[in-house]
Each structure stands twice: as structure tokens, then as C-alpha cells.
Point group: C2
Chain length 354, copies 2
DNA sequence: TTGAAAGCGCTAACAC
DNA sequence: GTGTTAGCGCTTTCAA
């Protein structure tokens, strides 16, 4: 195919050879240099009022948008954030993402979302892939405890913010999370106050710091009321529905079974509740229940579930904001730990007198 | 500060000047050219078995990973997918994302997730931002009907897949969705079969094709049973809880009110149900209800809600797969429309005899 | 089979 | 104020 020789005949809006208008096209059109255009686009350096106006007009007219990939290559960092979470369908996770997204979009950042399904291998793959994509920061609820995974981020000066579990690092990490111990203590206190003495806990893998902390806090809280949390009534599974169901069923088979159950995650509890109902028991009549992050998008669930409500949106927003602040002040190299107050909401599922 | 003059003294694993090991580092170490390393990394072009082995070993040893940004710039397309949806907290949306993500990660793609909250302005911003980020494809449940927004994608040959609403384009788009008309007809049929005659519909903005189709299908389905869907019983709002609540309340104030309500989205219905309960009425005793995409993550909702269940995960996966196929066969420029069969699940919320 | 070199679109010295 | 130019890290002709 022959090149069109009389290119000038083609008006400015004519078919573009390949893709979008770019810096040099504008420069050529306006008889200025690419750097002048670049400077006005970025508002950096001086440009005379008149040329600026012409350039802005041309940008408007042509709909020019800078190629973010080229910018990122030059800058060696993309205006993107990676968010790595267990499961986007989970209310906590989706709210965290929304929080991250809000702050990100305010800063013209885009957000990569990655579901690990609590699979350590997938987490590793994503963490690496995001690094290859030169994300400006990483927000992660990690399930693998191996902190070496994040070393390349430290080396590259890319902020990593943990919002849930902590890997086994000394001090070189950022954290935005609630005080899990305190939250669990509060629930323990509440169940004890309600008169329960046979109390069980459903929790996740204890090598995950959240599972460990929530269990510890719960045990301590019960101890404060002179109640022992027996080992046999600490059900350790995965943070999944099936685990809660299975463990609760086993408990219900025994001669004595708990009158109150606290779960370290919502799905664990939903599984347990299913087991309780299948046995023909009622909540809170026969068994009181509570958990972390009960989230009922429908607003129709009865009974309402007593719950530690993490400020998930805020956690996401704060995590993203931390990254943005680091981005602005590259010099500030300290690590930040933001620990939020837990919020406990009492609902019917644990209230004896209704 | 003075440069270290005896650089060779520093072992290979020593502190890197800046960031990660890259192609030219490997090339230098192994006394081969960057192109040879590049060829073995990508498995393109011929490389002798021996050098290939040495290079792979070095990659393993150094943990080299190609910089995706640089690749993207060269390729003029990033290995990323954009997903633009109303609200990640919605069960339909989160499942779509998971479907997209599954296929994407199988292809070493990353996924940008964007919540529009049904705001046309935000949708536009995101669509443009994703283009600037050179996404390899776009999966979108659009709310704005202006097809010009997507023209730059067409021009650049970037596949756009609609999974919900259609913009007002002629034929040049891809679609993966269920047959909304058919699904709504089925619900209409069911409610008529249950003996209902005063039937109402809650729907979204009628300029959105899904809202329009669902309404049309429902009307046609009722007509098949000789029932007219009165205009006054078509409640048009936003696809949000508040709309459902507000409209249902109005209906409940009237002398005659519907005995069955069908909602074009889950949140619309949840709002309506709240209004029904506040009025002291029961479901399905007083009013039968059904909707699109009732999703109960807890599994504890009673009554279960009769619903058109879109295969959301599959929709996402098919949409992503379509993009991947286009990516492989750039030559294939046709557009695809994949219409899936609707799946209707009858539950207690609409069953008279329980 | 391998290497040299030209970009991909942009930013930022540095020179004028 | 403005322009020239050297890369950012990679892929890909084109020669050798």
C-alpha cells in the first residue's frame, strides 16, 4: 500500500495512521517542541501564557491523553495500586477495595485487584506480577507468612501496606488494621456478661497473625471473667464456610456443647449457623453467636449478628492514602502502623433477653 | 558522594544500584547480547541449546522478571484488562470480576477493577483512564448510553465487551449476556401461574437496555397470560435499595396494592422487602416477590428469593476469553454476541403453597 | 545462531 | 521560554 503523499491535505481530524494522537503530533501541528507540550500537560516548567493557551486548545480539540505506559516507563513507576485479598465476594474485602479505589481515583491512579482465595501460591504469583507491572504501592491481606516475598518491594522503595495479617518481619512494614486482641476481648466480655460459661471459638490457621490475635484476645477476655477457653473448644480450620460447618457439627455431636460461639470470620460463622439450624436449634435461644465482619448486604438477615465491624472502607482508604503520601515525599522512609479502634455491634444473635 | 571505583569487587548478589536486575545485566554477566536473552525469555527466535541453558540458569539465579511496563510500551498494549462495573459489593459484579480474573491470570494478565456507582461521569473517566493505560481489553457494564465513549477503543483495535447494558451502537460491539427478555417472561409466567393478577415491577432507568428489556419481557410475559402490566405499577427508579424502598412504600399506601412484585435488580428488591416488612406484611403470604440476581452470600436468608440467576462468573470468564482470543488472532475483527440462557430459580418468596 | 541498533511515547536535563 | 536530546527496559528487524 502506498503512502498518501499529500498528507497536508488531510485535515487535523483525519484518520490517524495508528492509534491516538500523541505529544509529537501536537508539537508538529503547533510548531512547538515536544518538551513545551509536555511541560504544559504536566504543568511543570515555564510556558508562555500564549503558547500554553494554544496547546491547551489543541489538546481539547484533539482529545489528546498522555500514554500512561510511556510515562510509567520513564518514571519507573506506574500510577497504579495493587490490592491483594482473599476474596472479593467477602464484604470486608470489597469494602477495602472501595476505600482504596476512592483514594486512588482521586489521585488518578488505577487499581489492580487480585483474589488469592487464601492460596499462598496465588498470592506469590500476584505479588510478583504486580511488581513486574511497577505498581506504585501494594495493599495486601497476606496469607503466607514469608516476608521474603516482599523484599523486592522494599528494595525498590515501593510501599507495601498490610491490612490484616502480618508477615514475620521485624519492623520494616506498614500496617493499617484494627486491634484484633482488643476486639476479641470485648466480644468475650459480652458473652460472659450474658451468662455464658461454655464458650467456643472458631478460628483460622494460627500461623496467620489475625487468627492468632483474635484467639488470644478471646482467651484473655474470657480469663478476665474467670472462664477458661478449653483447647477442645478452639476449632481451628480455614477461614471458610465449610470449616465452620464441619467443626460445629462435631461439637453438636458431643454430650456437652457450647452455649455460645465466636467466629474469627463471617464465613466460619455462617457455616456454623447452618449446622446449628440443621440440628433444629435456635439462635440465640440455644446457642448465642458472634463473629468478625458479619456483613449483610441484603439487610434482611434475622437474627442480626453480633459482630466486630472493621472499618473496612476506611482501612482501604487509609492504606491507599499512606501510599500516596509516600509517593509525594519519597524522602520519608519510615514505616507507619495505624491501629484503629475496633467497633463492636451487639445484635440479636447474642442477646439472651430479647 | 563518591562512586565506588572497584565495582567488580561487589559480588553478583550485591546491592543493586537501583531496582531489579534487567535484561542487559544478564547479557553482560553471560557475555551475550540483550536480544539473545530476550529471545530465550520469550521463547521466540532460535537460541542454541547451550546458551539457552546458561541464560535460564542465570534467570533462575537472579530472579529476573521482565519489566511489564517496558514490554507494554514496545508492544503498545499492556497485558491488563479493565473491568468497569457499578458496584463491586454486588454479588453479580464480584462474580463477574472473579470470572474475568480467572481467565486473565491464566494468561498472565492483571485486572483493573473500576466501580462507577452507576455514575456516568465516573464511568467516562475510568474508560478514558484505562485507555491511557493501554489495557488489552475492556469488560464493561455500562450505564451511559453514549457509544462515542468507546470509539477510541474501536480505533485502536482494543476489544470492548459489554456484559449488561448495550450502548446505542449499530453492530460494532461484543456482548456476553443472558437473554433478559426471556428471563423476565419466565418470571412473569411463574407469577401468573401462582394466581397473581395484580403484579408490579420495579425497574431501573429505562434508557439502560437491561432495564428496558427486563421490563418489556415482563410485560410480554404477563400479556401472554392475559394480564396487563399497568403503567402505574411500573416503578422506575435507580438500581438501588433506596429506590425500591421508596416506590414500594408508595404502592403500599394505595387502596389496592400489588400481590406480587418483580424487581429488575436485587438491591431494588431488598429495599422493597424492607418496606413490606415495615408495613407488617409477610412474604410470600401477603406479597410474593422475585428479582434478578438475588445473591445471598450468607446462605441464611429466609425466605429464599425467587430469582433470575445470571451465570455471572461464566459471563466474566467468557468476556475475558473473548478478549484473549482477539489478542491471539488480531486478524479476526468480527464482533461476537454471546447470549446465554437465563436460569430461573424458584424459592419460597414467590411460592403460595409452602 | 547471534548481535547491533532502532525505536515504543514520554520526561527532564541541558543548552540556547 | 523554548528546543534538542538522551534515555526509561524491552522487542524486533536486519545484518553478520
Amino acid at each position: 500500500m502506498q503512502r498518501e503523499p499529500r498528507a497536508n491535505v488531510v485535515p487535523a481530524m483525519g484518520r490517524q495512521e495508528r492509534g491516538a494522537v500523541q505529544l509529537k503530533d501536537l508539537a508538529k501541528q503547533l510548531n512547538v517542541s515536544v518538551s513545551t507540550v509536555s511541560r504544559t500537560v504536566n504543568g511543570t516548567g515555564r510556558v508562555s501564557a500564549e503558547t500554553r493557551k494554544r496547546i491547551l486548545a489543541a489538546i481539547e480539540r484533539t482529545g489528546y491523553r498522555p500514554n500512561e505506559i510511556a510515562r510509567s516507563l520513564k518514571r519507573r513507576s506506574a500510577r497504579t495500586l495493587g490490592v491483594v485479598l482473599a476474596d472479593i465476594s467477602n464484604g470486608f474485602c470489597s469494602k477495602v477495595i472501595k476505600g482504596v479505589e476512592k483514594v486512588a481515583s482521586e489521585n488518578e491512579y488505577s487499581v489492580f485487584v487480585c483474589n488469592t482465595d487464601e492460596d499462598v501460591g496465588r498470592e506469590e504469583d500476584y505479588v510478583r506480577l504486580l511488581l513486574q507491572n511497577q505498581v506504585g504501592g501494594l495493599v495486601i491481606a497476606t496469607v503466607g507468612a514469608d516476608s521474603r516475598l516482599f523484599q523486592p518491594y522494599l528494595d525498590a522503595g515501593i510501599p507495601v501496606v498490610f491490612i490484616d495479617n502480618l508477615p514475620s518481619m521485624a519492623d520494616s512494614y506498614n500496617l493499617v488494621a484494627i486491634d484484633n486482641v482488643k476486639a476479641s476481648r470485648a466480644i468475650a466480655q459480652h458473652l460472659a456478661d450474658q451468662g455464658h460459661r461454655q464458650i467456643a471459638m472458631l478460628t483460622g490457621p494460627l500461623h496467620q497473625s489475625t487468627a492468632a490475635e483474635r484467639t488470644r484476645g478471646f482467651r484473655e477476655g474470657l480469663a478476665d471473667s474467670g472462664i477458661a477457653l478449653e483447647d477442645e473448644w478452639i476449632g481451628v480450620g480455614e477461614f471458610k464456610r465449610e470449616s465452620g460447618y464441619r467443626i460445629m457439627r462435631e461439637w453438636l455431636e458431643r454430650e456437652v456443647c457450647p452455649t455460645a460461639v465466636f467466629a474469627a470470620s463471617d464465613f466460619l460463622l455462617y457455616g456454623a449457623i447452618q449446622a446449628i439450624y440443621e440440628k433444629g436449634l435456635t439462635i440465640p435461644g440455644d446457642i448465642a453467636v458472634a463473629c468478625f465482619d458479619a456483613s449483610d448486604e441484603t439487610g434482611l438477615l434475622r437474627p442480626g449478628i453480633t459482630s466486630v465491624v472493621q472499618p473496612a472502607f476506611e482501612i482501604g482508604a487509609l492504606a491507599a492514602d499512606l501510599i500516596m503520601r509516600r509517593e509525594r515525599n519519597k524522602e520519608v522512609k519510615r514505616f507507619e502502623k495505624i491501629v484503629l479502634e475496633p467497633n463492636v455491634v451487639l445484635r440479636e444473635s447474642s442477646l439472651r433477653q430479647l
